[in-house]
């Protein structure tokens, strides 16, 4: 019987080819989106699971406001380097503690030179101390965990890097010259180990770990701090809650001591809701809990919802078409029942039919995934693979689970409807029974269209917001401006200025692509004001092309500008009050001395980050009074269109001065696109998903209207005999579907409004909620629904009524 049932199922699919193709293809699309999502989730969840020994490894997080994007306190990954020592000496559970460089993102990497080969830039070379491999259980291919970093000036390479540099892993004892920044003299490091690349991604990812000796000691002066990542391995898996209480106590004592050394008062620092804090978190949770942004899971939630909806839309198509088609199968059910088939057997038969279609969809889905995965990887900057996946077994069991789930979801209701047919009525030829569940089918169609319409509205609003962002005034001129990743050196700057076409050469601590926020507190008319400080050179503001609102910007003509003048941005000016030009404010420096600064100008806010973040109240100064900071930004503004030529001239100058380090630069146009990238990526995905969802819904509607038209053949024939025109017939069929589509539109408006509002709220600079996408979505959905149904309705309308009535 099983074989025969399969045969029947196959013949049925073949008989209704179009319908089957819609069903299977739609399901395959829905599954593909969902499985891609699964692959991505698996990948994200596999972070730091490459060894069972990692369960006792913890990351230290310190609560402070140093180098945070909004100058406020956060639980940071980077901790004061002294904390490593604190834990080592005061926490008996700690077996090993290690300090590692943070990925600051100042440069693309370090320059490595092997023998006489050209230097190559290699990213993720991190400096650590002798304990690194005691904390992280990497598998050594050459050398050993105990000995590798025993001495200073050593380096341990990952297998992949060793292969890239030398083509072999047998390189112990060889030396590599490493040049960290442009003016670095370079250090020769001896290779003392090669470790295997783990199968799963790591939150502390590296190409090489060095021990230069810098991480061995902490700064002696208590006012100097080094920040780095700190990891510890405990003797056994511990209760972090208890452990963190101990740490908190240790930290408060430590902090009091340290502040004492800095001649600061603990109570002064920790007021207004600020509080000290130190804790450990298990390493496998590090990746899902980044310090400032929400974790990947939260970020992925909307995408997960979307792909789940997509799957749902395709499952709904399946259910709708299967129940609509059930009319054709009614007789089979009736006959089988009187031939001696149990209801249960029939239910199984129809479930197996669904399963068969699911299996085909699943195979199609796997093929589709293979096809789209490269694009997906490229788009989302990941490296996922289906077949060469370390979690292939997990993946296959997930797919099997998905298959069972989809089969039951899609097949159960139709199977139940079908196997419940009453043989007496269906065998009498009364198929009207097959129309049971028409209410459910309508609800499902409405549901599909709610999803589709919501998608269309979202695209509209997102498109408008992104057009707004693309065209929004950044507050500075981003064209003809490049940023060379190096600090400002007069010699180089002077050489550049001589190149024809170069207008300005300047530096600033903060620029799009390198948002380096330095907080400070100033006193103005007795009020404390918190500002973000940016140190610039004289030419920086004109180089950026900022817009002056009041007063002036820095200029060589004013001697005072190198002494104590500042320029505020609008956001800062709003904190100060009105009539600011010429006013002064005071700032206490670390020695306790009050410096007076005069405000000489106010500029329009300009953006350093994406439009999701508000521009911070910022003060710009040229003077070193009250402390300066330094980052690797060298701005070059030019006024020529011969961009390539100019860059090569700059590079020539660079090579003369710094032969050991390749030049790196970005254009501000690129940086701006980068700031929009994440948003664009999200939008592209929404657009793609919307198109798929809308077309699936329409295919479903198309197939459903086919069946309805077929079902109503007799009614149509009778109406025609009574004198109805073709148009009237088409309208008749359209009306029933149009009601559904309009109902769906009405429901999706508030839903889309809430979702889109939430999305817009994520932007500090956003458009007002537009009405246009809502109306457009409704028009679009109604028009295409009418077109889809009309094609079928027309077919039904123009058939000769005699044919339909003859066989009654």
């Amino acid at each position: 019987m099983f074989k025969l049932n399969l045969k029947i199922a196959w013949r049925n699919l073949w008989k209704n080819k179009v319908y089957a193709a819609i069903n299977i293809g739609g399901l395959a699309l829905g599954l593909t989106a969902f499985v891609l999502m699964l692959l991505y989730i698996n990948h994200e969840e596999s972070y730091d699971t490459w060894s069972t020994d990692l369960k006792n490894v913890y990351q230290i997080r310190e609560r402070h406001d140093f180098f945070t994007p909004d100058n406020k306190e956060h639980w940071n990954e980077i901790s004061n380097s002294r904390i490593a020592n604190l834990i080592r000496s005061k926490l008996p559970q700690a077996v090993a503690v290690t300090k590692v460089d943070n990925d600051w993102g100042f440069s693309n990497g370090f320059s490595l030179k092997v023998d006489n080969a050209d230097p190559v830039i290699i990213s993720k070379i991190k400096d650590s101390d002798s304990s690194f491999f005691k904390v992280f259980p990497y598998q050594f291919l050459q050398g050993s965990a105990d000995k590798a970093l025993e001495n200073k000036e050593t380096i341990v390479l990952k297998e992949s890097l060793a292969m890239q540099l030398f083509g072999t892993t047998k390189v112990l004892g060889k030396t590599i010259k490493i040049v960290r920044w442009r003016s670095d003299k370079g250090t020769a490091l001896t290779i003392t180990g090669i470790v295997a690349d783990p199968k799963f991604p790591q939150s502390v990812s590296f190409n090489a770990i060095t021990r230069t000796g810098n991480k061995d000691k902490d700064p002696e002066n208590p006012t100097n701090n080094n920040y780095c990542l700190v990891y510890t391995k405990l003797n056994k898996s511990s209760d972090t809650a208890v452990l963190n209480q101990t740490l908190q106590k240790l930290y408060v004592d430590f902090k009091k001591n340290l502040l004492n050394g800095q001649k600061k008062s603990y109570n002064d620092i920790y007021k207004d809701g600020k509080s000290p804090g130190l804790k450990v978190i298990p390493i496998e949770t590090v990746h899902s809990n980044p310090p400032y942004t929400s974790g990947w899971f939260d970020k992925l939630k909307p995408v997960m919802a979307i792909s789940a909806f997509l799957l749902l839309v395709s499952v709904i198509n399946f259910i709708n078409l299967a129940t609509a088609q059930s009319v054709q199968r009614a007789k089979e059910v009736g006959v089988k029942k009187v031939l001696g088939s149990y209801k249960r057997q029939l239910t199984w038969q129809f479930l197996i039919e669904s399963a068969m279609q699911s299996v085909i969809s699943l195979f199609l889905c796997i093929i589709l995934i293979e096809v789209v995965l490269p694009a997906f990887n490229n788009h989302f900057k990941v490296d996922l693979s289906f077949w060469h996946n370390a979690q292939l077994f997990v993946m296959i069991s997930q797919l099997f689970g998905l298959f069972v789930f989809v089969t039951l979801l899609a097949g159960f209701y139709p199977a139940w409807i079908l196997s419940n047919f009453n043989p007496v009525s269906v065998l009498k030829g009364n198929y009207e029974n097959g129309l049971k569940g028409i209410a459910l089918r309508n609800v499902l169609v409405i549901f599909q269209f709610i999803i589709s319409v919501t998608f269309i509205i979202s695209i509209g609003v997102m498109e408008m917001q992104s057009r707004y962002m693309n065209n929004k005034d950044l507050g500075f001129e981003r064209g003809n401006l490049i940023n060379i990743k190096t600090n400002y050196e007069d010699d180089f700057a002077e050489r550049l200025k001589k190149i024809p076409g170069v207008e300005y050469v300047a530096t600033t601590t903060q620029i799009m692509g390198n948002a380096f926020n330095v907080p400070e507190e100033v006193k103005y008319k007795g009020n404390a004001i918190n500002l973000n400080t940016v140190t610039v050179t004289m030419d920086a503001l004109p180089a950026l092309g900022v817009k002056v609102m009041q007063g002036r910007i820095f200029s060589k003509e004013y001697k005072q500008d190198t002494v104590n003048t500042v320029v505020l941005n609008e956001a800062a000016a709003n904190l100060f009050g009105k009539n600011l030009i010429g006013q002064t404010y005071g700032k206490v420096d670390w020695e306790g001395k009050t410096n007076i600064f005069q405000i000489v100008g106010i500029i329009k806010n300009y953006h350093n980050e994406g439009f999701d973040k508000a521009v911070l109240p910022t003060v710009y100064k040229v003077t070193s009074l009250g402390g300066t900071s330094n980052t690797n930004n060298l701005l070059v503004r030019f006024n020529t269109s011969k961009y390539k030529e100019l860059i090569s001239k700059i590079e020539n100058e660079w090579k003369i001065l710094y032969p050991d380090f390749p030049m790196e630069y970005t254009s501000m146009d690129d940086e701006f696109s980068k700031s929009l990238e994440e948003n664009n990526r999200f939008m592209n995905m929404i657009i793609l998903f919307s198109i798929v969802s809308v077309s699936l819904s329409l295919l479903g509607l198309f197939a459903l209207s086919t069946f309805v038209a077929k079902r109503r053949t007799k009614e149509i024939a009778v109406r025609k005999v009574l004198g109805a025109s073709n148009i009237q017939i088409v309208n008749l069929l359209n009306k029933s579907f149009l009601t559904l589509v309009i109902a769906a539109n009405l429901i999706s408006w508030p839903i889309a409004y809430i979702i889109v509002k939430k999305w817009l709220d994520g932007f500090a600079y956003r458009i007002d909620m537009p009405v246009f996408p809502f109306i457009a979505a409704t028009l679009i959905s109604v028009i295409i629904a009418i077109l889809t149904v009309s094609i079928q309705a027309r077919k039904a309308a123009v058939t000769d009524p005699v044919n339909a009535l003859k066989y009654e």
């Binding site: 025969l4 045969k7 007789k331 009736g334 009187v338 031939l339 001696g340 088939s341 065998l427 030829g429």
Partner: protein, 231 residues
């Protein structure tokens, strides 16, 4: 074989009972060929459905092979379908997606009959009904008469003791109808299969050996057919 006692069937709507069958009491013995006749809406088909346990009587008692089957559960009813009852329909009701061969095979599969036995039985039926050449065709490739032959072959495959036929020739031309009726008569005579058919045609009814006349849900007349009418 069949005993009906006081069978009633009615539908109530808005408090009014609409009777389809009233006080039907009759006995049908093994080997009889009974034709149920009557005008449209008289309740013939309902009676046949009740006999076939497709519908339950509202009132009354029904014994099939000395067993009370008035209220039967699904499992037992299906056991009876598998082993004792064969249905033949006016519209043939062959399964469109199955070939002739598979249609005949279906009841045997439900009956869980071994593959070799199945093959020989089907071969035998195809042979007897002269449709061997058609065994791989689908129903829509056959004429009405041929389809009904397959329908009967299917009903016979499980070797039932009774065949219930609802206007088996209603959709056929008279020549084909005659052929089918002769087949029924032969089955009844030679193999002793009990046959109950619903029919409009006096001529078809006379192939049987007993006629139940029904009007307005009541058995008006129960007559034996004279032998002389038979061929």
């Amino acid at each position: 074989m069949i005993q009906l006692k006081n069978i009633e069937k009615y539908y109530s709507s808005k408090g009014i009972k609409h009777y389809v069958l009233r006080h039907v009491t009759t006995t049908i013995k093994q080997g009889e060929f009974v034709s149920i006749m009557g005008p449209s809406g008289a309740g013939k088909s309902t009676l046949l459905n009740i006999l076939g346990m497709l519908e339950e009587p509202t009132y009354g008692n029904y014994e099939f092979m000395d067993e009370d089957v008035t209220n039967l559960n699904e499992r037992k009813r299906i056991e009876l379908y598998r082993n004792h009852i064969g249905f033949v329909f006016q519209a043939y009701h062959l399964i469109d997606e199955m070939t002739v061969y598979e249609n005949i095979e279906a009841p045997l599969l439900y009956k869980k009959i071994g593959s070799s036995e199945r093959k020989s039985r089907i071969a035998d039926l195809l042979d007897r009904f002269n449709i061997v050449a058609k065994k791989d065709l689908f129903p829509n490739q056959l004429s009405g008469g041929q389809q009904q032959l397959v329908g009967i072959a299917r009903a016979l495959a499980a070797q039932p003791s009774i065949i219930l036929a609802d206007e088996p020739t209603g959709n056929l031309q008279s020549a084909q109808a005659e052929e089918i009726m002769q087949l029924f008569q032969k089955l009844n005579k030679e193999e002793g299969i009990t046959i109950i058919q619903v029919t409009h045609s006096e001529k078809n009814a006379e192939y049987g050996n007993r006629i139940l006349h029904i009007a307005d849900g009541v058995v008006k007349d129960d007559v034996a057919v004279r032998d002389s009418v038979k061929i």
